[in-house]
Amino acid sequence: MTAIAEPLIAFFLIVSGIFGFVGSFGLLKLGDPMSRMHAPTKATTLGVGGVLLASILHSVAIEKHLSLHELLITLFLFLTAPITAHFIAKWHIHRHETPQSLPRAGDDVIWATHDTPEQEDGDAA
């Protein structure tokens, strides 16, 4: 069991280290803010997921007891990373783009995030 588990744990650790490095390197290297958001929200989450997977394997195969704390952290990170990315993308849309400068919104005239606040303001006024 340990003979199989040790290389597997080392593999997960190395892969997760590379992913974590690539995530931050992308944040540094890519050009505009929306491209920059692409790297850390995906690669870094995957990197941390790899570390947690290695930690679960380590506790099961080497310390011989099952610990699932790591799954909680993994679940939490995988739930919250998209929400963070969504908020920052929304900030960028409202601060640096106009409804005309965005790509076409399909069947609608403008994107929904530009649609609602003006209507509420109109009703309040």
């Binding site: 290389p7 931050s24 850390p40 570390v51 930690s55 380590h58 963070t84 908020f87 929304k90």
Partner: protein
């Protein structure tokens, strides 16, 4: 073998922390700074868990969990502030 893999991962995430810090210091927009802070928090979680793995204790999982929650809440608070001008309306 695991020891060297842990050292490698330590080096990778340490370099990632430095790159995030550089991005926070030299960025041109506040949104990218908030994103870099969020990445900093996630990398810190990874480092904490690696440290727990290296010295063979489980006490750091609770700390990592708390840092994950605080990091998420603070990022959302920053994003709310950037979007609306205040956090709780």
């Amino acid at each position: 073998m695991i020891t060297y893999a842990i050292y490698f991962a330590f080096a990778c995430f340490g370099a990632a922390l430095l790159m995030n810090l550089w991005r926070i210091l030299t960025s041109d927009g506040v949104g990218v700074r908030v994103l870099a802070l969020d990445t900093l928090v996630i990398n810190t979680i990874a480092l904490l868990i690696l440290y727990g793995l290296a010295i063979g204790t489980e006490i750091f999982f609770e700390a990592a969990m708390i840092i994950a929650m605080l990091g998420f809440v603070s990022t959302v608070a920053y994003a709310r502030f950037m979007l609306r001008g205040n956090i709780i309306e």
